[in-house]
């Protein structure tokens, strides 16, 4: 039931992206902004999302609106997340802000899969977390489940 209405999204760099309404409303956040705004001419500002990331998000939403659940869609999703880590994290944050649950799930699962086999040290580095255990305390924790470190 597409009304053919186009929505304009504005990125952080003030670049505009025109998308079909059906694609835009995959984000409940954007949907609400459209409903709240009664003037049809205004664009939707998304100051926290860069053009690069917004383009990615739009690519995802477009594909998911156009394509039914299928091997093709699964294949698209698998390729979609094959990006550098910085981009992946940025997409996660954008998807979270825009409340696009399926995109959050997809990207977060990808990160989870990457983290699965990591050591605690690698985790610390990835997320800039300081290890505040004293050496003997950490040793104690390791001894609680030694097999997990094999």
């Amino acid at each position: 039931m597409s009304t053919g209405k186009m929505i304009v999204l504005r990125s952080k760099e003030n670049e505009t992206f025109e998308v079909e309404e059906a694609v835009a409303v995959m984000s409940p956040t954007i949907k609400r902004m459209i409903e709240d705004d009664h003037s049809a001419d205004t664009s939707i500002p998304l100051p926290k999302i860069t053009s690069k990331i917004l383009a990615k998000v739009i690519e995802y939403c477009k594909k998911h609106v156009e394509t039914p659940e299928s091997e093709e869609l699964k294949s698209f999703d698998a390729d979609f997340v094959k990006v550098d880590q910085q981009t992946l994290f940025d997409v996660i944050i954008a998807a979270h802000d825009l409340n696009i649950k399926s995109l959050v799930d997809l990207t977060c699962q990808t990160v989870a899969d990457m983290l699965k086999g990591c050591t605690p040290e690698q985790i610390s580095k990835t997320f800039n977390i300081e290890n505040n255990f004293a050496p003997e305390e950490e040793e104690q924790v390791r001894r609680e489940n030694p097999w997990a470190f094999e």
Binding site: P120, I123, E130
Partner: protein
């Protein structure tokens, strides 16, 4: 994985990423920092992790390992040293081949036979595997209960995902010498979310069971079990024993048990037929429910209670003729409300491969696990009529195949005292649990004299 990355918002990291990780990774990540340690131990996180849709239900199967026939006399059989099968004492209730636990990698039960994994690897060679009754899993935990036909029945809790194992101390009470075996139940108190164990020790003695013990376990808090007192118990008995004679008065035998929504159900054979007994874990009371009135009290056996959708169901087996081991049909009775049975449907078994027993439903109400007449485990789809061979088998004689729908859980059963568990220690602890101790041997041989 290095670099100056934007930090993800913490709630995102925890609720969307960490919660999707397998238990083994999370146990390792407890050493990242104190905050993560506390997070991974918190009941909030443990619950979300367990309930996360990404925490898939997997099929855990107990089955037999049949020897690979080989002419090579030097061939290495995996269980050779550990399995001592005493053929003199074989009476049809012991397996001819060792039993093993296997877990299928994912929900599709696809392709090749199940894979041995960390979580079950260390118990694979226990020679007395057939002597363990596994109840559950409830929230990722199993109750293990040994079945040695003597006074030394033991109970323990086991979390396969965290490789934790804990013996349950027995109530301080001497059992009669005529060899009772206990019947147990395991589930959750729906009000407090504590684990509860019901222990009925005198089921197999001459007198009908009239005592039960109920123990309570709150994960991570206490070091030992708390036994619940029943105010109705007679003063002459130690306080932890409950009188339940009106429930089990005319009972002869107890069959399968199943936990659902705050109650544990047993199928019980009585002098007047079959009955379901339940223990309500919220109210801490036993209740009796008559079986569906058409259920044949004289039927050969194999009737079981299972879960279907969100109800308890009774699978009633009808065999081709009185001493046949081949099923003619299975009647599926569902109890939507307590005490009220409806015959949901009857599965005719004559058109398909010969079936001996149903074992339970998979993730829905149309995929049913069956053991064939040649002891193979198959999955039957009621909608498509397709039978899928799962590549595992049981043994002749009694049914040794057991299926469990298992999901990993972080629930810790170690309590405050932190012990280190490496694989060897765990293997030893398990072996001890299953060992027939010296005193048992003496009693055993004394009985045989």
């Amino acid at each position: 994985m290095e670099g100056d990355l934007p930090n993800l918002p913490e709630d995102l990291l925890i609720d969307e990423i960490l919660v999707k990780l397998p238990v083994k990774s999370l146990l390792r990540f407890k050493c990242v920092c104190k905050k993560w340690y506390n997070l991974i131990e918190s009941s909030y996180f443990i619950r979300n992790h367990f309930n996360n849709p990404k925490n898939h239900t997997r099929l855990l199967v107990r089955h037999s390992i049949r020897p690979i026939i080989s002419d090579d006399s030097n061939s290495d059989s995996v269980w050779e040293d550990d399995f001592h099968f005493d053929s003199d004492s074989y009476d049809g209730t012991e397996p001819q081949n060792p039993l093993a636990l296997s877990i299928f990698p994912d929900e599709t039960l696809a392709g090749s036979p199940p894979v041995h994994e960390d979580i079950i690897d260390f118990i694979q060679r226990c020679p007395n595997m057939h002597r363990i009754i596994m109840i559950g899993p409830i929230g990722g935990l199993f109750l293990l209960h040994t079945n040695f036909n003597d006074v030394n029945d033991r109970l323990a809790l086991w979390n396969p995902a965290t490789a934790e194992f804990r013996r349950l101390p027995r109530p301080n009470f001497r059992f009669p010498m005529d060899g009772p075996r206990c019947v147990s139940g395991f589930g959750l108190d729906p009000l407090t979310n504590d684990y509860k164990i019901v222990w009925i020790p005198t089921f197999w003695s001459d007198a009908p069971p009239d005592l039960a013990a109920v123990a309570l376990y709150t994960p991570g808090t206490d070091e030992s079990w708390r036994q619940i007192e029943n105010p109705n118990v007679l003063a002459s008995l130690p306080g932890i024993w409950w009188k339940c004679s009106q429930i089990f008065d005319d009972c002869i035998e107890c069959f399968s048990g199943e936990y659902l929504n705050g109650a544990f159900y047993w199928l019980v054979e009585c002098t007047c037929g079959r009955r379901v007994v339940l223990f309500d874990m919220g109210r801490d009371v036993f209740r009796k429910i008559p079986a569906p009135h058409n259920v044949n009290a004289r039927s050969r056996g194999g009737n079981i209670l299972v879960q279907i959708d969100e109800s308890i169901a009774l699978l009633e087996n009808e065999y081709m003729w009185p001493h046949s081991t081949v099923l003619k049909s299975i009647n599926v009775w569902i109890m939507k409300e307590e005490g009220c049975w409806t015959k949901h449907f009857t599965l005719g078994c004559e058109a398909m491969v010969e079936i001996q027993y149903p074992l339970g439903f998979w993730r829905n109400n149309y995929e049913l696990f069956l053991e064939t007449a040649s002891n193979e485990l198959v999955l039957y789809d009621l909608n498509t009529d397709k039978v899928k061979d799962l590549g595992v088998c049981g043994d002749e004689g009694a049914s040794f195949i057991r299926i469990f729908k298992y999901r990993e859980s972080l629930v810790s059963i170690k309590g405050r005292q932190r012990e280190s568990w490496n694989r060897d220690k765990l293997r030893n602890v398990f072996s001890d649990f299953l060992a027939v101790s010296e005193s048992d041997d003496e009693e055993e041989s004394a009985k045989n004299d």
